[in-house]
């Protein structure tokens, strides 16, 4: 393997959203293209609804499974609050690709209920804080696109597609597609590829105005 450009990314979301699958798709995309890759994963326990994160490091020379604070090139958050939860890892002006759909934790819901309040943390509240670190924030309505692809569970494929547009990403769009194909069950392949394509396209309606993307 020759000298490779590096790309460090924090993948995050809520248990049950398929973050591990997302990471496996990226890992296989790299493996397939002979690009160095390593991850540090926090699987947590098996309950759903907890916070999940995976550090994924492509190319480059670092050998630590965890990205140092302030050095990730991007955060990809399948749940927007979780992008803020791990914001210390992002470098200034780094890229944040995040889902629009906030999943308020049960604890927040219960607290507000007790105090008869309704002021949930909103997507806008989160973005306002993220902006202190970077202007490069690309929201994606992943659920809508996943539904369009015919399967609400393909949100993660939407994200893989969107990320594939990034010019600095070591694996090519084709590698990424192969990575996805390697990890999704056969019967859901078609929907996942559709979700991937939709995600890829949607990147050019937002993300690519902010950061450099590949030629369409």
């Amino acid at each position: 393997m020759s000298e490779q450009k590096s790309f460090d990314i924090v993948l995050t979301g809520v248990g049950g959203q398929g973050i591990v699958m997302l990471s496996n798709a990226l890992g296989n995309a790299c493996a397939n293209a002979d690009i160095r890759v390593l991850t540090g994963e926090l699987h947590g326990l098996s309950q759903r609804s907890g916070t999940v994160y995976i550090h994924l490091r492509m190319g480059g020379e670092s050998i630590s499974p965890l990205i140092p604070y302030g050095e990730a090139d991007a955060i990809l958050a399948m749940e927007p609050m979780e992008s803020l939860r791990y914001i210390e890892f992002l470098k200034d002006e780094g890229i944040i690709i995040l889902n629009k759909r906030v999943i308020n934790p049960p604890l927040e819901i219960a607290e507000l209920s007790k105090e008869k309040r309704t002021d949930f943390v909103t997507f806008e509240n989160i973005v306002e804080k993220l902006k202190v670190v970077t202007p490069n924030i690309a929201p994606i309505d992943a659920l809508a696109l996943a539904m369009e692809a015919g399967n609400p569970r393909t949100e993660n494929a939407v994200f893989i597609g969107a990320m594939s547009a990034l010019a600095n990403l070591p694996p090519s769009v084709e590698d990424m597609k192969i990575g996805l194909e390697t990890v999704v069950p056969k019967k859901a392949l078609e929907q996942n590829i559709k979700a991937f394509e939709l995600g890829y396209k949607t990147a050019y309606d937002g993300l690519c105005d902010l950061v450099q993307c590949r030629e369409l």
């Binding site: 699987h43 759903r48 499974p65 140092p68 934790p105 219960a110």
Partner: protein
């Protein structure tokens, strides 16, 4: 990963987790018997061996606990076969009685034990340092840093094990087990499984008195020979640097040290130790000789540091050893590049350019708006229902609640904040026995079904024998849920999962032991469960309440497989009087409320239709989706 990287018989490349790489290594080494009890961060080793068993002829089993798992693979090894087990650090505490003896008796077929420590207590009760098991039991120990080494070391461990007739430890930490990367695999060439005959392979495995004393002397000889062997081990790697400063590290700390030095712009000599017991003494002396300063980078106890000091002193080296004793590193917490960067910089008095602290500070400020996302019971989790009924039943009573290890441990966290103790698997019974002798309160203890078989049985026998006035809850959710829904002796046989041949029935076990007061509940039948729980608490002497319902994750998977529809519930928004009974103190991840009118709302993609919220709703406005319209139709 894909299972393919583990089972493909041709050599190739694959993206795998260290846990999977170890399985691959073992399969390449022709392992024939594996047995485990699950525990993070090693559970994927069990799960991968489980998934791959249909492709190979090794014998796989989930044991009732780690001690039985170790003894199982020890027996296979005595019979001449290669065998492996893996467990978390606290698991080795359970297995350690057999482990120490095995060191003395020696083994026959290659025997490997993977033990995973958990700095930061991500999923464990303590930051135990499993490395101390090596020298304490005179058992050799290898420490991988990444997936490639994980595979290679497991293979090498089998060779070492057979060469010296000793069990071999592979010691990891969470950040090793759960690290993925690309490995190059070797060929899989396996001999067909054929049983052996004791007369041909057997020898005595016995250790007591004079024999034990002799065993010990042999053990010391073995360790000496292995130490010499490890002098030339390719797992101990020197990366020459500049000047008279060095670093000694192992495991994932080595990775952090390498990256941190790059960031500091320094090139110290680095010794990466892969054989951390016995240490390659001569190699270390050789490495230390030209140095003035050496820094030990290791998580948890100053194990390498103290060894370096001893070696330096014995050899008369004029060397300063930095590490934890010198205050540059902590014995607590999990390391990362910033921590190691700071530690090395302060030890070597280097100027730093990276200000990781201000990054953290800014982030902390930004994050202050975030509500915590602590672990909660899943949608449909029967434990939530059991706790609801239990909390009703104890109203007005003075009780102590001794919790145990499993998903139900989470009662400790908000919203329940309900637990007075939680020590170790099965411990709630012993603790309760002690408390029942000194406290006036009603004493309640609780175990899961897996914990019941793992370590609660001796405690229950003890409670019956001494007629302790305690109430034991057994939460029977059919699987070992918290570690990934593995099977256990009480798992029903119709689950299409590879498992043992006979289901052990918990109430029969209790009866057999002599428990006279046994109550069996359907966890979901919340309201009707309150009274029987009260009666069990009133009973004088030991009583057992078995609360039974499948783990929601497991149950839903079975439903999907059998094409049984999962019908979520919905709130009749217009009828909802907003008492939020389904929200407060219930904390189901599927239930929230609408901001416009504060009516409760159920997220249909998360709800698994357990219907417990419908049962506790004081106004009865929660129904399965579509059920109301159906009744209307019937009426028409």
């Amino acid at each position: 990963m894909t299972l393919d990287s583990v089972i493909n018989t041709e050599p190739g490349k694959g993206f795998v987790m260290c846990n999977e790489a170890m399985v691959r290594g073992a399969i390449e080494a022709d392992v024939k018997v594996v047995s485990f009890y699950p525990g993070a961060p090693t559970s994927e080793i069990l799960d991968t061996f489980n998934s791959a068993q249909k492709y190979f002829d090794y014998k796989f089993s989930v044991a009732t606990n780690e001690k039985v798992a170790l003894e199982t693979v020890a027996g296979a090894s005595m019979g001449g076969f290669r065998a492996l087990t893996a467990m978390k650090s606290v698991g080795l505490n359970v297995a350690s009685d057999a482990f120490f003896s095995l060191g003395y008796t020696g083994i026959k077929g290659g025997l490997v034990l993977v033990v995973a420590d958990d700095p930061h207590c991500h999923s464990s009760q303590s930051e135990e340092d499993g490395r101390l098991f090596g020298p304490n039991a005179y058992i050799p120990m290898l420490e991988p840093s990444n997936p490639a080494e994980s595979r290679e070391m497991v293979k090498a461990a089998f060779e070492i094990s057979e060469k010296y007739g000793t069990i071999v430890l592979i010691r990891t930490t969470t950040r090793v087990n759960h690290q993925s990367g690309i490995i190059t695999t070797g060929p899989i060439e396996r001999k067909p499984f054929e049983k052996s005959q004791w007369a041909e392979v057997g020898k005595p495995y016995f250790t007591v008195g004079e024999i034990a004393r002799q065993n010990k002397l042999n053990l010391l000889k073995k360790v000496k020979a292995m130490g010499e062997d490890f002098e030339s081990s390719t797992f101990n790697i020197v990366t020459p640097g500049e000047g008279d400063v060095g670093i000694v590290a192992s495991g994932v700390s080595y990775c952090y040290a390498v990256d941190a030095c790059k960031k500091l712009g320094i090139k110290p000599h680095i010794l990466k130790l892969g054989t951390t017991y016995p240490l390659p003494r001569k190699k270390i002396i050789e490495f230390l000789k030209p140095l003035k300063i050496v820094t030990a980078v290791e998580e948890l106890s100053p194990y390498l540091e103290h060894n370096l000091k001893t070696i330096a002193k014995d050899t008369g080296l004029e060397l300063t050893v930095f590490g934890k004793d010198s205050g540059h590193f902590s014995e607590a917490e999990e390391y990362n590049v910033p921590i190691v960067y700071k530690g090395i910089a302060s030890a070597l008095e280097l100027k730093t350019t990276k200000d990781y602290e201000s990054v953290l500070e800014r982030a902390a400020g930004l994050k202050s708006i975030l509500p915590e996302r602590i672990p909660v019971f899943c949608a449909g989790c029967p434990h939530r229902a059991t706790f609801w009924a239990l909390k009703q039943a104890i109203r007005g009573r003075k009780i102590v609640f001794n919790n145990d290890i499993g998903c139900y441990s989470m009662a400790f966290f908000p919203p329940l904040n309900f637990s007075d103790s939680m020590l170790a698997m099965g411990a709630s019974l012993g603790v309760s026995a002690g408390m029942s002798q000194v406290l006036k309160d009603d004493i309640i203890c609780m175990v899961g079904d897996s914990t019941f078989f793992h370590a609660a049985l001796p405690g229950l026998v003890n409670a019956v024998y001494h007629d302790r006035n305690i109430t034991l809850f057994v939460l029977d959710n059919e699987v070992t849920a918290m570690t990934g829904q593995q099977t256990h002796p009480g798992t029903p046989q119709d689950r299409g999962m590879p498992q043992g041949k006979k289901k052990i029935i918990i109430e029969d076990v209790c009866k057999g032991i002599g428990v006279e007061n046994i109550t069996i509940l359907d966890s979901y039948d919340v309201k009707n469960n309150v009274k029987p729980i009260k009666e069990a608490l009133d009973h004088k002497g030991p009583s057992v309440v078995i609360s039974r319902r499948s783990c929601a994750l497991h149950g839903d998977r079975i439903k999907r497989r059998n094409k049984i529809p999962i019908v979520p519930n919905e709130v009749d928004k217009n009828a909802c009087k907003k008492p939020h009974t389904c929200i407060r103190d219930f904390h189901c991840p599927a239930i929230t409320f609408d901001t416009d009118d504060r009516a409760s709302h159920i997220k249909s993609d998360i709800c698994d239709g357990c219907g417990v919220c419908a049962k506790i709703c004081p106004f009865g406005v929660i129904h399965p989706v579509g059920s109301e319209s159906k009744t209307e139709e019937v009426e028409k």
